[in-house]
Amino acid sequence: MNEKTNQRRRTLSILVQNKFGVLSRVASLFSGRGYNIESLSVAPTEDPTLSRVTLVTDGSEEILEQIYKQLNKLIDVIKVVDTSRENHVNREMVLVKVRGDASVRADLIRAADVFKGNIIDASARTCTIEVTGEEGKIEAFIDLMTSFGILEIARTGRVAISKGPRTLKPGRVKP
């Protein structure tokens, strides 16, 4: 297996039982087998007994196949879909706290506007802006903010959903 030349990045949507310990089962599967987790987000779904995990990972085709199978093997995992293989949309949110006293406030507001961001907090010297979008947009926004002086960043990691009527409904797990 040539892992270096054949890297792929994937967004997996994982439907799991909403029980304690589930997240650590998913996470320890990755750490125990040396797989990489780039980002991970988890929250309950419309059905409160289920949670949805969105996990971004990379690896060769073989590793990704193993990840898919190993995740399916976990008893608490109900369904795994490689959302990045489907027609899908994905979003991430970032909160950026920057230096922002009165002298630059106007510039900040303009910058936030360009990215359809919101200023969600401001103090005498700082300003916190929220931006949502695809990764590229988030990166570009962070780049732009560097010139103001970034004090702190919090990112959610990616969430994704397939386009059209398809859903991640619980059902029989694909072998």
Binding site: L15, Q17, G21, S24, R25, S28, G32, E62, E65, Q66, K69, Q70, N72, K73, I75, D76, V77, I78, K79, P170, R172, V173, P175
Partner: protein, 567 residues
């Protein structure tokens, strides 16, 4: 109203549990108290690790779920090696552990250990019961998970207050776990493709593993092999899944496999893998493994497929079902002259068998370890349940005891756990009171759980322990001899206990064998003894296991025997 402990025992009875192996402690006092009034028989091992191995041996030999029980903290952590052993070999086992009360969890209470966290990567699944209302359902699910699909160990952690709490709950009639639906029937399209591949091959070989034994598919495997005369090899875990005396049987393959098995695999054009997982001890250097073969892989665990070796036709499901469907598919091609296909191939295979059969040299004054195994085989007519430890003793048993039936060889294959043999034999004897149970042990390994002799004595379990005493951690010494210039670092066991004296101290019978002529006599006497026996066979100290595939080599590149004659 009952308390949790009573409900627990009721659930076990309903699951068909008749024996549990365990060791008590503070948080499980209530459970042990109620156990006295239950129909379930408790076997007190002298170490929790042995309780897990005994439950494992019970399970491997009977096919039933084995159950072990330990207290919180050190009791639970002592189970870990036993659970990992069962996990690697897909043994259905339930480990129940006591836990500190729910209100104390997380506070570093006395004898608290996060056993659910510790065992997460070595169990098929595990549970912490936090509400007595969940107790019965959890037990039901634990047994269901352990015994279905690819079996494996499940741990259930029981906080003390769960055992004390009053409850009206009962054992649930049904079990349904969302997202857990093992697939048992193979995909018909894949089966059709597999049949075509088989019919178009001229050099096929069957490579079978422990999955054949778990799915009780031995009969179907033999039928499959005989249908087209396909030579068959098994892994260590698969031994007994195909009768060793069958003319199509090649013996075990892999690192210490037979010359014929490794050559047949290496020169094949098609491998039909059944319930085996292409372990590195089997494949050797992966790039050189069966370079010209297409691979059909039947396995119930999708994640076992294309993990180590790229497979051409995966078929996920139960081995027995799939073999049946595959044969039905093959029989549709009734115009095929079945046995013609492999005639030429079998000639080649037979030549390899003749060229380098398993062999060792007997000498007059010193017992050869292989001789002991052969003699045990002969005197038990190949029908004993045989456990092994790990190391040379294990490989010689695999090579020289000709297993005819499944569930007769109990050996730690995946984890390679020294000290498995004696407690596993105890468990097997509990599950098979009328069978002859032998533990073929190493002088190093046996000391890792030797305290269990007293368990055998107490419960009148007449296990026969045959120590192949070479005065070394023999397998490690073999590697040191071959690859480290005979620098025997930390492998000399010259200083060792008087095993006969140890046996006697425990109240078992002890016998010492020093010369080849002792072997038959001692084994016969052991078989005729009503109670447990320890046979200490002093064997050739520096005997090696051959053939041997060095680490990193392809499996056709075997070392077939000693480099030069010893003086």
């Amino acid at each position: 109203m009952r308390i949790g402990a009573e409900l627990f025992l009721d659930c076990l009875v309903r699951e068909g549990v008749s024996h549990i192996f365990g060791f008590p402690g503070g948080v499980v006092l209530k459970l042990y108290d109620r156990l006295m009034d239950s129909d379930i028989k408790h076997i007190l091992t002298r170490h929790e690790q042995a309780a897990a191995h005994a439950a494992d041996g019970y399970s491997r030999s009977t096919g039933k779920v084995g159950v072990c029980l330990a207290t919180s903290g050190p009791g639970a952590t002592n189970l870990v090696t036993g659970i990992a052993t069962a996990y690697m070999d897909s043994v259905p086992l339930i480990a129940f552990t006591g836990q500190v009360s729910t209100d104390l969890i997380g506070g570093d209470a006395f004898q608290e250990a996060d056993i659910v966290g510790i065992t997460r990567p070595i169990t098929k699944h595990n549970f912490l019961v936090k509400d007595v209302a969940d107790l019965a359902r959890t037990i039901r699910e634990a047994f269901h998970i352990a015994r279905t699909g690819r079996p494996g160990p499940v741990l259930v952690d029981l906080p003390r207050d769960m055992l004390d709490a009053a409850t009206r709950h009962v054992y649930p009639k049904t079990v349904e776990i969302r997202g857990y639906n093992p697939v048992y029937d193979g995909n018909p399209g894949q089966i059709r493709r597999a049949a075509n591949l088989i019919l178009n091959s001229t050099r096929p070989v069957i490579y079978a593993g422990g999955g054949v034994i778990i799915s009780a598919a031995s009969k179907e495997l033999v039928q499959m092999a005989e249908l087209i005369n396909i030579p068959t090899t098994t892994t260590l875990m698969g031994l007994g899944g195909f009768p060793a005396s069958h003319p199509l049987f090649l013996g075990m393959l892999g690192m210490h496999g037979t010359y014929a098995a490794n050559m047949t695999i290496s020169n094949s054009d098609l491998i039909l893998a059944v319930g085996a997982r292409f372990d590195d001890r089997v494949t050797g250097k992966i790039e050189e493994f069966a370079p010209n073969a297409k691979i059909i892989h039947i396995d119930i665990d999708p994640s076992a497929i294309s993990k180590n070796v790229k497979v051409d036709i995966p078929i996920v499901g139960d081995a027995k079902n799939i073999l049946k469907s595959l044969m039905a598919e093959l029989k549709k091609h009734s115009d095929t002259k079945w046995k013609e296909i492999t005639r030429e191939w079998l000639k080649e295979v037979n030549a390899w068998e003749k060229e380098n059969p398993l062999k060792y040299e007997k000498i007059d004054d010193v017992i050869k370890p292989q001789q002991v195994v052969e003699e045990i085989y002969r005197l038990t007519r190949g029908d004993a349940i045989v456990t092994t430890d790990v190391g040379q003793n294990q490989m010689w048993t695999a090579q020289y005891y000709k297993f005819e039936k499944p569930r007769r060889l109990l050996s730690s294959g995946g984890l390679g756990t020294m000290g498995f043999g004696l407690p596993a034999a105890i468990g097997a004897q509990v599950g098979n009171p009328d069978s002859l149970v032998f533990a073929i042990a190493g002088d190093g390994s046996v000391q890792m759980n030797i305290q269990e002799l007293i368990t055998a004595v107490q419960y009148e379990l007449p296990v026969k322990v045959a120590i192949l005493n070479n005065g070394y951690l023999g397998m490690v010494r073999q590697w040191q001899e071959l690859f480290f210039d005979r620098r025997y670092s930390a492998t000399d066991l010259e200083v060792s206990p008087d095993f006969v004296g140890v046996a006697k101290a425990y109240g078992a019978k002890g016998m010492e064998g020093n010369k080849p002529s002792d072997v038959e006599k001692i084994i016969k006497e052991a078989i005729n003894t009503a109670g447990p026996v320890v046979m200490n066979f002093r064997v050739e100290r520096e005997e090696n296991v051959y053939p041997m595939v060095p680490l990193g080599a392809g499996i056709k590149d075997m070392i077939l025997g000693p480099p030069e004659k010893k003086k």
